[in-house]
């Protein structure tokens, strides 16, 4: 029964359909707001749906030299990883998350799956641009995973220390972290956690692969890199995976830093959660994307090691010392 419920959660409510609707809505709004910031009209809000419909009507081409199994499997792996991930995101006041033990660690392991799927697809496509995209994806992934680990650790340690009464401890259950914050105030307002929150804001464009960190898929340099050889339904699957990932990373940010609720009615809380995700997306992805160019891969690596890692390290040390 639990297994069935888990699958339902992955397919319908926080994962699967719900995450897809929210993710596509966010993507459409993102493009619209970006266009408005650049004084354009922009595409309609349902553009991601239209793009997916279009891609489903196109034929699938597989390169002769590609490793067919890995090439076909890569988008499925990326999509499935994110659909599972979404089921772990607690929606405060509505849904508690699939697992209540150590799900922060599970999320840390599951989050790089789309990037790994992209690398798999890129290297299986046997295209030199795919190979370049592969190496860039790898470098930028190593760069942004370090601050992410420190952010998660500082959140877990702050809550764990407080729960165990000032002793050494870490709490890796997102549900308990959310509950602790509902009693003791959101971590986003905690001065100790502000550097970690800023680091998370910088981590978001890195992991979503948008400007200024869209280096692996740079159209003008490596003609979309790993995605170069994909077309039709397979590419649509990559886009769906990316929409799910938008929901996951934004939801994780809201759950870690601003999980407050208003009232007890679930619909209000659900809308409040989506609104918070939306604000997080607008400030960390859309505005940054429409105002910046693209880093070189070495600059991006140095930037990630210098700025967000140091900020997250600050928070971690402060949590450890206080």
């Amino acid at each position: 029964m639990d297994t069935l419920l888990g699958i339902l959660h992955m397919c319908i409510f926080p994962g699967g359909i719900f995450a897809l609707v929210i993710g596509f809505f966010f993507k459409g709004l993102d493009r619209r707001v970006e266009a408005r910031l650049q004084r354009r009209v922009g595409p309609p809000l349902i553009q991601p749906w239209l793009d997916t419909a279009k891609l489903l009507t196109k034929e699938t081409l597989i390169p002769k030299t590609a490793c067919t199994q890995a090439f076909l499997l890569a988008p499925v792996v990326g999509f499935a990883g994110m659909a599972v991930c979404a089921a772990f995101i607690p929606v405060p006041g509505v849904f508690d998350g699939l697992s209540n033990m150590g799900d922060l660690l599970v999320l840390f392991y599951l989050l790089p799956i789309p990037a790994i799927a992209m690398m798999m697809g890129g290297s299986a496509s046997s295209s030199p641009f795919g190979a370049v995209g592969f190496s860039r994806e790898m470098i930028i992934m190593l760069a942004y995973e370090t601050p992410l680990l420190m952010i998660l650790l500082s959140v877990a340690m702050l809550v764990g220390k407080s729960m165990s009464g000032g002793d050494w401890g870490a709490e890796f259950s997102l549900l308990k972290i959310v509950e602790w914050q509902q009693v003791n105030g959101s971590l986003g307002y905690n001065p100790v956690m502000i550097p970690a929150f800023i680091a998370y804001l910088i981590f978001l464009p890195g992991t979503m692969g948008v400007a200024p960190f869209d280096i692996p898929e740079a159209e003008t340099e490596v003609v979309e890199g790993p995605l170069l050889e994909y077309g039709g339904p397979l590419l649509a699957l990559f886009h769906v995976g990316s929409a799910l990932k938008t929901f996951v990373v934004l939801g994780l940010g809201v759950a870690m830093f601003f999980p407050g609720t208003i009232g007890d009615f679930w619909l209000v809380n659900l809308i409040w959660f989506v609104v918070k995700c939306l604000v997080l997306m607008l400030i960390s992805l859309t505005v940054v994307k429409s105002a910046t160019g693209r880093y070189r891969i070495d600059q991006a690596f140095r930037f990630f090691i210098l700025v967000p890692t140091m900020l997250a390290l600050c928070s971690l040390l402060l949590v450890w010392l206080i």
């Binding site: 493009r31 266009a35 650049q38 004084r39 354009r40 009209v41 922009g42 595409p43 309609p44 553009q47 749906w49 239209l50 793009d51 419909a53 279009k54 489903l56 009507t57 196109k58 034929e59 699938t60 081409l61 159209e219 003008t220 003609v223 979309e224 995605l227 170069l228 050889e229 994909y230 077309g231 039709g232 590419l235």
Partner: protein, 149 residues
Amino acid sequence: MALDDLLKKNSVRSPWLFRINAGSCNGCDVELATTALIPRYDVERLGCRYCGSPRHADIVLITGPLTTRIRDQVLRVWNEIPEPKVTVAVGICPISGGVFREGYSIDGPLDRYIPIDVNVPGCPPRPQAILEAVALGLKIWKKKLGLEG
């Protein structure tokens, strides 16, 4: 079948553009890339997007008179674009050869090798003409999908 029709009907609202330079003097490319498709005319409102890969393309815009050196590459890239696709010849060069007509290094006109759906004459064409060609291309795409034009 209803789902299939729904997908087809909506798919024409998401045309992704791909450019091929078949030996152009760059005049049409400037009109195309930096004038017709910039914020001022905003083709993104039609759902258009530039894509870097021929595998993602729906509407392919070809400039240039098709020189002998570039012919095979152009044909190869064009063949990699998945069906259904719409081909637009931008500028007078791919249509007739333009000022380079009957030159020793020219293998055009383009429709000796590739079926062209929309011609945009001009040297270079006006941005409005290019946008109209994209809009016409959408109608042809609809026909290719089996919907009424």
